[in-house]
Assembly symmetry: C2
Homo-oligomer: 211 residues x 2
């Protein structure tokens, strides 16, 4: 059995009106924490870009197990699928702004979209490596480095997601994530500032853990 999933909000209704210059192609919608952006089974006729906040893309398995496949942050494209219906769910993490672009307006083969998919693909492969062949502590170290990279390689940053999300991203339990963080702290690689604050003290040490 796995971590229980907090109730998700219903779908979003009120879209922010399109901003001048961007015209009707790219309306921005705002979502609250946990709100669904799209869900498994829906038609996949839009592609999305995170404006602010963060997004988790995940799937639920029969027995309640959840796997988060990716986190997306400002500037990231997401929601592209090979089939015409979504096979995954996307939810906002905290207050999040998302720009939606209809695929009929947007040529599917636009270079920007192409490289966005390649980027997503590449990230998925990297993550396969992490969850496939890394130990718990190595996964957490890799995760912290990834999050640091996403905040412009800063030494000190705040995680936008809870331990449950981290665990379901790394295919671990929250307990193991917590224990691994504690070990990293004791080894002098990181400092913890509250539940979300992370400071990377031994950046190089963390990198050595990951390979």
């Amino acid at each position: 059995m796995n971590t229980s999933i907090s109730a998700s909000w219903g779908r979003h209704i009120n879209a922010i009106p399109p901003q001048s210059g961007e015209a009707a192609l790219a309306p921005t919608s705002s979502f609250v924490d946990g709100q669904c952006i799209y869900s498994c089974g829906e038609r996949a006729d839009q592609v999305y870009r995170v404006e602010f906040g963060a997004v988790r893309v995940y799937r639920l398995l029969a027995n309640g197990r959840r796997q988060i496949l990716a986190f997306h942050f400002g500037g990231d494209w997401f929601g592209l699928q090979s089939r015409d219906r979504h096979s995954l769910n996307a939810e906002a993490i905290g207050v999040t702004g998302v720009r939606c672009i209809g695929l009929q307006e947007e040529p599917l083969c636009r270079p920007a979209l192409f490289s966005a998919v390649l980027e997503n693909f590449s990230a998925a492969q990297e993550h396969q490596l992490v969850i496939g062949r890394q130990s718990a502590i190595e996964r957490v170290a890799a995760f912290l480095l990834e999050m640091s990279e996403r905040s412009g390689y800063s030494r000190r940053f705040e995680l936008s997601m809870s331990r449950v999300d981290v665990a379901d991203y790394l295919a671990l339990t929250i307990e193991t994530v917590s224990r691994s963080l504690t070990k990293l702290k004791h080894r002098g690689f990181i400092e913890l500032h509250g539940a979300r604050g992370i400071e990377l003290v031994g950046y190089r040490g963390l990198q050595n853990l990951c390979l």
Copy 2:
């Protein structure tokens, strides 16, 4: 520690001359078992399509651990990267024919390529689910169903890869793969015919295992 990796062959030299009709755009090369098609660090200026045989795409980690990210079979495109250099290795499994297409000749945004990437991306995500949240026996069951699907949903087929490859694909050890196969046999889901032959007796039972 992990399974030791058999020595790989050097790079391929003698390409089969381009076939009439396909012109110089798509020369087909033939590879022997274990031969390298491309390796990590090389320039990624080509995209490939499997003509016959099979291909494994993998990465080696520092401590000798190997993760196979994908198997590719006849008709599959592979080798597309987000950066200009390969971050992975590709090797032939058995005698394998591969059609190479230079990216300068081929517009990167060609619809066929786009959907090929989406297909690869989708497969990578599915595999993330399997190695992230499935038990050993569930992974092996999922693998057998995947291989069956790749052979046209046939009930009886031959695996093209060894147990080591299966293990490194499923992020398990060969012993665990072997034990899981034995369990599946004892439960009446499959029959084993030699080391490579698989017969799916309880197709539905296998599917129930995977979700």
